[in-house]
């Protein structure tokens, strides 16, 4: 295979260096490397990161190919700088059997834009009643290690306890969508000052916090590891911080949109801002940023949730919940964490690549940018600033809350095991 020399890249935001890729592997990192026999990419001071890893993506295939497919979703991922995504289980049929997870896994392999690691459902049909065949999914070709009923909460305490216990046998982890169902019946947005005024059903913070509190205690009791999806409130941060201080094996993710947007946007009744968990308040946003900076929240995960136009071009109550996020995630993190001084680029690499790869056990991802490592890399033009234009998205869906908003940073190149998937901002 051919050689590629990335010249003058700020590796993890450090001093400019050259990185030589030979085949699927990083051959050398240093200064003044020879370009002989190599295709040269002039990085010109752009930041080089290990390929981003998204622990929470909805690829919609099988079942909702009108909103996204494994192909369009992984192209969107490559476009956003990702080299691995974890595909959530709430497809049709649900990814609750070895057959479905293998299909999704195989499609990702065939398309080759990004590694696709399927997440298996915790319960059959996401119904929260009966454990899915977690072991079979783990032993399948897809090698599932992360299990989640995302979109729905594993609300039954006994089922959750059993799932936490059961996956220990093969080192799995349960990723909980923390939402107490009774407290969120008819919920349309964050419950607070804005929902009171708008007359939209409230989704109270306590519905998330009570489940997180229960689950960290369950994890402690049975000695298991638990991962919290899309943590969205200041109170949740406090609970996770407390759990970690007690030595409980908990990890947590935050989405880019919860780092930037607040429920004030719902005043427009524009369903592009409708998402689950809902956009919270300024106070929550600041607490989430702080927690991501200090490591209480371990990672950023997109919760990329594509929906067809008609499911958003309607009245609020009728609209689907969710936002696309793969192609804007890094820009939002730069805006909210880097430009605010809360994280440096090494920190971004940790929260968006190294740690998500570790939590999800994505082999070959989230590795150091050094000789001998797989060449999964992302090159970012951090000096760029521009308005988001969804017309240019690779995703099949356009439900972005950032349309027209100016954001910093642009991924120009992505390499998956030495193969360029994105060159000069264009998919290969």
């Amino acid at each position: 295979m051919s050689k590629i020399l990335i010249r003058g890249a700020k590796v993890l935001g450090g001093e400019p260096q050259d990185v030589l890729i030979d085949g699927e592997t990083i051959a050398e990192v240093g200064t003044g490397l020879s370009a002989e026999g190599a295709e040269v990419v002039e990085a010109g001071g752009k930041v080089l990161l290990p390929g981003l890893v998204d622990l929470h993506t909805h690829l919609r295939e099988p079942g909702r190919e009108d909103s996204e497919t494994v192909l369009t979703g992984t192209r969107a991922a490559a476009s956003g700088g990702f080299t691995a995504v974890f595909a959530m289980a709430n497809t049709f049929p649900v990814a609750d059997t070895a057959g479905v997870v293998e299909q999704v896994y195989r499609l990702g392999k065939e398309h080759g834009y990004c590694d696709v690691q399927p997440i298996g459902a915790v319960t059959v049909g996401l119904e929260g009643q009966k454990l899915a065949e977690l072991g079979a999914m783990h032993e399948s070709a897809a090698g599932v290690t992360v299990f989640s009923d995302d979109g729905k909460c594993v609300h039954d305490a006994v089922i959750m306890r059993r799932a936490l216990e059961y996956v220990k046998a093969f080192g799995g982890v349960v990723a909980q969508h923390a939402q107490e169902p009774r407290l969120t019946e008819g919920a349309q947005m964050n419950e607070g000052v804005v929902s009171a005024e708008l007359g939209l059903g409230g989704w109270p913070a306590v519905a998330e916090e009570s489940i997180i509190a229960r689950d960290v205690l369950l994890a402690e009791h049975v000695g298991s590891r638990v991962h919290i999806c899309h943590l969205s409130t200041a109170g949740s941060v406090e609970i996770v911080r407390w759990a970690k201080s007690r030595g409980i094996d908990v990890t947590a993710e935050v989405t880019p949109h919860h780092l930037l947007l607040t429920d004030e946007l719902v005043r427009s009744y524009n369903p592009v801002y409708k998402v689950n968990p809902p956009l919270r308040t300024e106070r929550d946003v600041l607490a989430l940023r702080e927690a991501l900076a200090d490591g209480t929240i371990d990672i950023v995960a997109t919760d990329h949730a594509p929906h067809p136009h008609e499911d958003k071009d309607c009245e609020w109550a009728a609209a689907a919940m969710g936002m696309v996020g793969l192609e804007t995630a890094l820009s939002v993190v730069q805006e909210t964490m880097v430009e605010t001084g809360l994280l440096d680029w090494a920190g971004v690499a940790d929260r968006m690549s190294i740690t998500p790869a570790r939590i999800g056990q994505a082999a070959g991802h989230g590795r150091p940018v050094s000789a001998g490592e797989p060449a999964n890399l992302t090159l970012v033009d951090t000096a760029y600033r521009g308005a988001v234009d969804s017309a240019g998205f690779a995703s099949r869906s356009r439900n972005t809350p950032y349309e027209g908003r100016e954001l910093p940073g642009r991924v120009t190149h992505t390499w998956l095991r030495g193969k360029a998937t994105l060159v000069d901002g264009k998919l290969t």
Partner: protein, 326 residues
């Protein structure tokens, strides 16, 4: 005035007083033998009702007809909506038929706002009640009723409700009437108190421009008007309150409680009343209760709103056609 009427909160004090004053002019039309003005002749208004509401729909229809508008009534039941057609397509279909204004009642909070602000249609949008959000013409007719009773029909012209103490009692959480009234009454200078069990008050209410109390009896003597909100019996199944009887005992308005109100104070209700629940028959049928007046005033208010949004610069009622009897 804005081009649409979506929320009572969008009205300035001067807008609101103008609507109330215009409604007084419209009310005089109702006293004539021929209750009709040519103002909106040739204009088409559709009453787009996605939720059943006989009284609001009829009130708008009466107002539209008295202004000589062409009226189309559209009810979602049995229409293409029940077959899955979207709000957007329904609205665009109606507009393609040349509609100048859409009066919309919808179960989803914000649906009229979306209709007015999404670029789907150009017609003026009037909110006739959306979910648990707003019902601005109800608030206007309530304010109109209060001004007439508490300030005076002629003395009230040009006036707001400064210093009047208005108490709203009942299911505030699910009430678009309460939200609209709080906004409008505040704009008009009234002091508003909401009384309800804590379960029927929304979290976040602390930002509203009003007082909140859990105790009806202590509020009544300090009220110039007491508005009882409808409480649906099924709420008790969701544990908002234990039983109908307990609700009535604590928050219902009966003769004894009415006697604690100041002599001039009025009892209001947006209807439909649940007699025996939030209001006893004795109170509902008393002279102090303005329910029937509110209905009549509703037509005048809706005429005023339609005229001001659609009528352009022409005076609503020309002097040659009006007999100013007072």
């Amino acid at each position: 005035m804005q081009r649409h009427l979506i929320s009572a909160a969008d009205l300035t004090r001067d807008d609101a007083v103008l609507i109330l004053d215009t409604a007084e002019e419209m009310a005089r039309v109702a006293d004539r033998p021929i209750k009709k003005l040519p103002t909106l002749r040739g204009r088409t208004i559709v009453n787009l009702f996605f939720e059943d509401s006989t009284r609001t729909r009829i009130s708008f229809e009466a107002a539209e007809k008295r202004l000589s508008a062409d009226v189309i009534n559209f009810s979602a039941k049995g229409s293409s909506v029940s077959k899955g057609e979207s709000l957007k397509d329904t609205a665009q279909t109606l507009e393609a038929m040349g509609v100048d204004a859409v009066v919309i009642r919808h179960g989803a909070s914000g649906a009229p706002y979306r209709l007015a602000n999404s670029g789907w249609i150009d017609a003026a949008v009037i909110n006739a009640g959306d979910g648990t959000h707003q019902h601005p013409t109800q608030a206007l007719l309530d304010a109109f009723t209060m001004r007439r009773r508490l300030v005076g029909r002629d003395a009230g012209l040009g006036q707001d409700l400064s210093g009047k103490r208005i108490t709203l009692v009942g299911d505030v959480l699910h009430s678009r009437v309460a939200r609209s009234n709080v906004d409008l009454l505040h704009t008009l200078g009234a002091e508003v108190t909401l009384v309800a069990p804590p379960t029927l008050l929304p979290v976040g209410i602390e930002s509203w421009p009003c007082e909140v109390s859990y105790d009806l009896d202590s509020t009544l003597p300090k009220s110039d008007a007491v508005m009882m909100l409808r409480v649906q019996r099924e709420r008790m199944h969701a544990a908002f309150f234990p039983t109908e009887r307990e609700y009535s005992r604590r928050y219902g308005l009966d003769g004894d409680r009415m006697a604690r109100m100041p002599e001039h104070a009025i009892v209001m209700h947006p209807g439909p009343m649940v007699r025996g629940m939030e209001i006893t028959a004795e109170v509902a049928d008393s002279d102090r209760c303005t329910v029937v007046e509110q209905v009549a005033n509703g037509v005048s208010i809706r005429m005023a709103v339609l005229y001001l949004l659609l009528g352009g610069n022409e005076p609503a009622v020309t002097h040659t056609r009006t007999t100013e009897e007072k």
